[in-house]
Subunit: 301 residues, 2 copies
């Protein structure tokens, strides 16, 4: 399998979905333009790719494109939730970042008021789009609603928003390991794991598979966030697309600050090994998710 090619195909498929969602929407043009700006700033699309890969992972044979088309809106909703969280996190009252994905942040272009509204708009649109695309068959519908619930909880105050709150509260403090872990599991890992679990459950109810992707997601999410912390320390603006050193500027609690750079790299590798081992029982079926986990170690943005 050519991992890069397969990943890029999925990204194109997601981008096509996102474009058509935005294009079809009737709204005040300013807020729509601001939403589109951040959505199309060229992210990695990690969460929707994980969703689609988990869906395919749960297919007994190959999935038809018609089947994937039916759940693509849910994959796009995950990217909208992720993007809204970035817009709000970048605000002056939060992380006060000027660059994101190599471009000026939303509020730098549209002003704070519109950036807040664009974030609100993307979060709400994620739910609108999922609700507009519920399947008709009762059994599918029930699984779809379970998937929506998993996503909504991971995005909410018991997940991502809880993590961001802890992150805000810990600025300038030395913090301890349990706070750092709370931030990482809630802020990043929750939505990553939810992307995988909702992908599986949108296809079928299978406790064993759900547990496997949940464990994989937990390890992947931790590795991803540690790498994020490392890149903030070692990356450059061009490669990273955002200003490095912002964690240090904000005296944030990070892995490298707590454990040093080498130890953090080692921890990240260990988490990736853990993620890969969760897929071993599934052989060929888990190949893409395995390669995806390994690719985290080569992240430069």
């Amino acid at each position: 399998m050519d991992f890069q090619k397969t990943y890029q195909e999925k990204v194109l498929y997601i981008n096509e979905g996102l474009n058509s969602i935005i294009r079809q929407r009737e709204s005040h043009p300013t807020v729509l333009r601001a939403m589109e700006y951040s959505l199309q700033a060229g992210g990695k699309r990690l969460r929707p790719v994980l969703f689609l890969s988990a869906y395919e992972f749960a297919c007994i044979d190959n999935c038809s494109i018609q089947e994937l088309d039916q759940v693509r809106p849910m994959a796009c909703a995950l990217e909208m939730i992720h993007t809204y969280s970035l817009i709000h996190d970048d605000l002056p009252a939060m992380d006060n970042d000027d660059y994101r994905r190599g471009k000026p942040t939303n509020h730098k272009v549209f002003g704070e008021a519109i950036a807040i509204l664009a974030g609100d708009g993307l979060l709400n649109l994620a739910y609108e789009v999922m609700l507009e695309n519920v399947p008709l068959e009762t059994e599918k519908l029930n699984r779809y609603i379970k998937a929506m619930l998993i996503i909504s909880r991971s995005a909410g105050v018991s997940g991502m928003i809880g993590g961001q709150t802890a992150d805000m509260e810990n600025q300038g403090s030395n913090g301890n390991f349990s706070e750092l872990e709370y931030i990482h599991t809630h802020k990043t890992e929750a939505l990553i794991t939810a992307s995988l679990k909702s992908g599986v459950i949108a296809k079928r109810e299978d406790t064993e598979l759900l547990n496997a992707v949940a464990k994989y997601g937990k390890a992947l999410g931790m590795a991803f966030q540690i790498t994020d912390d490392i890149l903030d320390l070692t990356g450059d603006l061009q490669e990273l697309g955002k200003m490095p050193g912002s964690d240090k500027k904000m005296s944030k609690l990070t892995y490298p600050a707590r454990y040093g750079l080498e130890m953090s790299k080692k921890m990240s590798r260990q988490y990736i090994e853990q993620a890969v081992s969760c897929l071993e029982p599934y052989g060929k079926k888990g190949e893409f998710l395995k390669l995806l986990a390994l690719s985290i170690l080569d992240r430069s943005r």
Copy 2:
């Protein structure tokens, strides 16, 4: 019917629902406290009351309390969406208000970062709570999802968020009637009408009833917003619970600014008469909604 007593009973029923939602939630304590602060600042609960009244309006006989208990979370979700929009609207980057419902605004107490997160948290929690309480029976479930979709669209960029964007963009401009109407229909009326329509559809599919409450809601929403504009001009801090004159301070496009105070009062009365007339065919069944519309004219907050 003792209108005030009946209204207050519904408010207590909603408050009880909101309290149990917040109390059950596992989250970072700071963001939960900020959400609770604004939720419990003593609003009128207009939207959930409209939802419950529309649900009862759609009942052939009287509704059982068990039935109402099943849809109460959706009524509470409407209040959470409304409250999140107030928290974000009050932010310094938006309307920059220091008081709301007689208390310091959310960001004045918790800071801007937490206020943004509390707003995000309430919006997301509205969907979590609705998804946690979907009914099991297929037919009910299908209507429930339609109700959720109506709510989500009215809250989103084609509804409330679109209206707030227009409101932000029109500050300091003289504006014309169509802009003023766009702001009012989207910012306020959309969620009010959605509360009524979702209430009916949660009970049954009935095009005639849906049209009746939609027309009623449109007129009520306009009257409500015009009264809001009037109160901003004539009310006092104690009665209003927020600083009057803020529209003028922000050079906002309002009905009194455009048509003068007397003409605005007349327009508001006309909208209420229109709302009341939509309920005439329903006699006794529409009494509460009729009295509710008339009460808007006596609003002092």
